[in-house]
């Protein structure tokens, strides 16, 4: 009896499960509907570009959870945009908060629900192409762009950016521009150099000798670390200085990638070998493997224990702390050539000429796209952009004598700027502040990135960049997505950090054998598939 009833229950449950599965599979998922169902179509008046019926557009904005600021989707500046742009054009501009650390998930979820904003954006090209592959991006009508966003279009043409947005022969993306910033730099303690009576190193051998002198003289106390070193980013180990120059295009296409390190590539091997030498001689942080976010490296530098440190310079948080711990510390820019082995050039990975990569939601109606284009066009106008970037004169900034704005950092009133001078709103048109000329930009950067008295670091870096720019190049740009990259990148990134640590910390005599072993495992873990797919795509493009 009991057995029978148990069996009956099982049968019923299995049937139920099958039924549920079938129901789920058979559900008629409607084609994704436009994000804003209320928006009427075909309501644009051609003459004055004002919509007869109100159009609602949704614009994504990063939410970085910065403490102490008003909501990113409802603040003085969103209301200002509504008042200055929206109300005048019969458009409602809604901002959709996208968590910065979880953006791809969030966008995918919104897309799945047909709720995605009218703009889909990403900073990294492969990720943007992934949205295209998923069918989330609509084709851009260039004539419409010319008509509704002429300035924006012209900027894309002038900077020759449009070609990057062509996939499978059609225009899918347009781009914000990117003025160069000069705030990534490596600092060396000039007072240490003076103490050991050495001049600024200009190549790798001299640099290693300087580090040895730092170590032998224990300039940072008993635990001196000549150069602060952290665990590299799982995707960021470019070995630029070890690459051949000029680099063969095919090698660039196959191995230079922002998301996966080319462990098996000779330049990467040579670079790791140098790190192995430095580590074994005690010239870089011995516990770097535990420092995955760089806080230990920074702490060593600001405590005066480490002599060399590279980071994005900010006005607060590095040099000011160092000075509070070591008041007589002096700093110089470590030239890029100090990391370059014999015969190499100070190459660096150049940014693309573009900043934010912008596509229009494939579910957006024509009017929504037009209205979004009008927003881009309005925002790129110099006076609008200036106000968005600097705020209200007398409240958030004052005008300097040289005609350049100086921010009032501690303004707490209603018109206060959102995080990073409203950047997450105007990133749709430009990736940094542009004051019209290189000199003006440099001048503003010197005062925004460097603390008082250290502006020369930014200036030196700027001059170095100008001098070395001839060696810089960008990654190769495929006209299709490489699916293996997104499939294997997380496992390969994890493996790279593990292998890197083992390779740097092994005995130099064991290095080559260990490297061979790891390369094989790395290829098997998916890197071979990436190379194959890239090769195929590359050869097809060359035909």
């Amino acid at each position: 009896m009991r057995r029978k009833s148990t069996r009956t229950v099982f049968v019923i449950l299995s049937l139920l499960l099958v039924a549920v599965l079938l129901a789920a599979c058979g559900t008629d998922t409607p084609k994704t509907t436009p994000g804003n169902e209320t928006t009427p179509t075909g309501a644009a008046l051609e003459d004055d570009k004002v919509f007869k019926n109100r159009v609602t557009i949704q614009i994504p904005v990063y939410d970085r959870g910065v403490e102490g600021l008003p909501p990113v989707d409802d603040n003085y500046w969103t209301r200002w945009i509504q008042k200055e742009f929206g109300d005048k054009n019969n458009i409602t501009v809604e901002y959709v908060a996208i968590p910065r650390s979880d953006e791809v998930n969030k966008f995918n979820m919104l897309l799945a629900a047909g709720d995605a904003p009218d703009i889909i954006f990403h900073y990294d090209f492969p990720a943007a192409v992934a949205y295209y592959d998923a069918g989330a991006i609509q084709k851009i009508d260039i004539d419409m762009l010319k008509q509704y966003a002429p300035t924006y279009y012209q900027k894309n043409v002038d900077l020759d950016m449009l070609k990057y947005g062509v996939l499978d022969g059609e225009q899918y993306f347009i781009f914000a521009s990117r003025p160069t910033a000069y705030n990534w730099l490596t600092m060396i303690r000039q007072d240490w150099l003076d103490k050991v009576n050495m001049s600024m190193p200009t190549n790798l051998d001299e640099y290693i000798n300087v580090l040895r002198a730092f170590r032998d003289n224990k300039l940072g106390g008993p635990n001196t670390i000549p150069a602060a070193h952290r665990l590299p980013y799982p995707n960021g180990y470019f070995a630029n200085a070890y690459r051949p120059y000029p680099i063969p295009e095919e090698e660039l296409a196959l191995y230079s990638d922002l998301s996966v390190v080319a462990l098996t590539w000779e330049p990467v091997k040579q670079n790791i070998k140098t790190d192995n030498l430095l580590w074994n001689e005690g010239l870089i942080s011995q516990n770097f493997a535990l420092d995955s976010d760089g806080t230990k490296a920074k702490a060593d530098f600001v405590n005066g224990v480490a002599g060399v440190y590279g980071d994005y310079l900010t006005k607060e948080g590095i040099i000011d702390v160092l000075l509070s711990n070591v008041p007589d510390a002096k700093l110089s820019l470590l030239p890029a050539t100090a990391g370059v082995p014999k015969g190499g050039v100070p190459a660096e990975r150049a940014y693309w000429p573009f900043g934010m990569i912008i596509g229009f939601n494939s579910a957006s109606s024509e009017d929504e796209v037009k209205a979004t284009m009008m927003l881009l066009e309005w925002m790129i106008q110099p006076d609008v952009l200036f106000t968005l970037q600097n705020g209200i004169e007398g409240k958030t900034y004052t005008m300097g004598e040289d005609g350049l704005p100086v921010a009032i950092g501690d303004y707490k009133g209603e018109e206060r700027m959102n995080y990073n001078s409203n950047k997450d709103m105007w990133c749709l048109v430009i990736e940094g502040k542009d004051y019209g000329s290189e000199e003006a930009n440099l001048k503003v950067q010197m005062t925004t990135f460097a603390p008082d008295g250290f502006e020369y670091l930014i200036k030196d870096r700027y001059e170095e960049c100008i001098a070395n720019q001839k060696y810089w190049y960008t990654d190769f740009l495929f006209d299709v997505g490489i699916p293996a990259v997104s499939e294997y990148k997380s496992i390969l990134q994890e493996k790279f950090q593990e292998y890197y640590t083992a390779l740097v910390m092994c005995d130099p005599s064991e290095f080559d054998a260990l490297y061979e072993k790891y390369c094989k495992e790395y290829l098997d873990a998916g890197f071979q598939k990436i190379i194959d797919q890239k090769k195929e795509a590359y050869e097809r493009m060359k035909k």
């Binding site: 102490g68 650390s101 629900a113």
Partner: protein, 302 residues
């Protein structure tokens, strides 16, 4: 005789010595484990009370350096933090109340033999322990129900926990004997009256425990808020905390230009962590007294 008592005595001291050794061992282990749990917390508190410079230099371990309350002033002065706190309290209280109501309503009938088909019903509940729809279907469901950007999406889906229901059911089964219910039945009490006046008072400890499970679970969860909520006034505290802690790491690995300001200094992060954790810790002492109450003594006579 003397011999025997000597032996007994020796045995006694020996076992006493072993007991003592065991006690010492247990105390040391427990003390070490507790310290392991408490130290990180103290570390975060110390960081939240120190100056930025000392924290960047990693000089703060367990004692604050350059003691100041600047970070807390900024956190408490931030209306969005306070609003998120209220939002979290509201959601947690509603969630716990609803969760307990559902759990009791499901658990009590399942303990009664009079209920026909209770095994099947149990299996239905248990299936939800093993299978779930997955994130995207869940999201689509919330979308169709129109619950996106609505606090109900944070309360309804998780309110019934089969796991807690099983704990409750087992506990009722073992603490409330059938005979007790029968005697109440003979005295003329109905089902509701038996549940409210006899079973629930006897189950106070387990109710308190489950309330804590529900409340702490809701308080600490953030993922559903990250997915379902995009309007900032509705953010839960943990959601804000998640954004605050995560963001700094991502900007560096993309082509995004670096900001000219430090995103969220370590000190502020620590203060926010404490701000988000203290309220739920404070509830523990209030609930604890129920854990130890021996309510059952003398309930069934004979």
């Amino acid at each position: 005789m003397a011999n025997k008592s000597d032996f007994k005595y020796a045995n006694y001291t020996k076992s006493k010595a072993i007991d003592l050794a065991a006690d010492i061992f247990i105390y040391i282990t427990v003390a070490l484990l507790s310290i392991l749990c408490v130290l990180p917390f103290i570390h975060v508190i110390a960081k939240s009370l120190s100056s930025d410079a000392k924290v960047t230099s990693q000089l703060v371990y367990l004692i604050p350096k350059d003691f100041n309350l600047k970070a807390y002033k900024s956190v408490f002065g931030d209306p969005s933090m306070i609003r998120s706190l209220w939002q979290t309290i509201k959601v947690t209280v509603l969630f716990t109340a609803l969760g307990m109501f559902l759990t009791i309503c499901a658990a009590y009938p399942l303990t009664r033999k009079r209920l026909k088909g209770r095994n099947i019903i149990s299996i239905f509940f248990i299936i939800t322990l093993y299978f779930s729809g997955g994130i995207i279907p869940d999201y689509l469901l919330m979308h169709r129900l129109g619950l996106l950007n609505n606090s109900a999406s944070l309360i309804l889906p998780l309110a019934f926990s089969a796991y807690n229901m099983i704990i409750m059911r087992t506990s009722i089964q073992s603490t409330v004997p059938d005979s007790l219910e029968e005697s109440a039945f003979l005295d003329g009490a109905g089902d509701i009256r038996i549940l409210v006046q006899i079973v629930l008072p006897l189950c106070k400890p387990i109710i308190a425990t489950l309330c804590l499970f529900y409340a702490v679970g809701r308080w600490n969860a953030y993922q559903d808020s990250v997915f379902y909520i995009t309007r900032q006034p509705l953010y839960l505290l943990q959601h804000k905390l998640n954004l605050l802690i995560q963001t700094t790491n991502t900007t560096l690995t993309s082509s995004e230009a670096q900001p000219d300001t430090v995103t969220n200094p370590e000190v502020i992060k620590s203060a926010c962590i404490i701000f988000a954790t203290l309220p739920i810790i404070i509830t523990y002492p209030f609930v604890q007294k129920y854990f130890v109450k021996g309510v059952m003594i003398g309930a069934v006579k004979g």
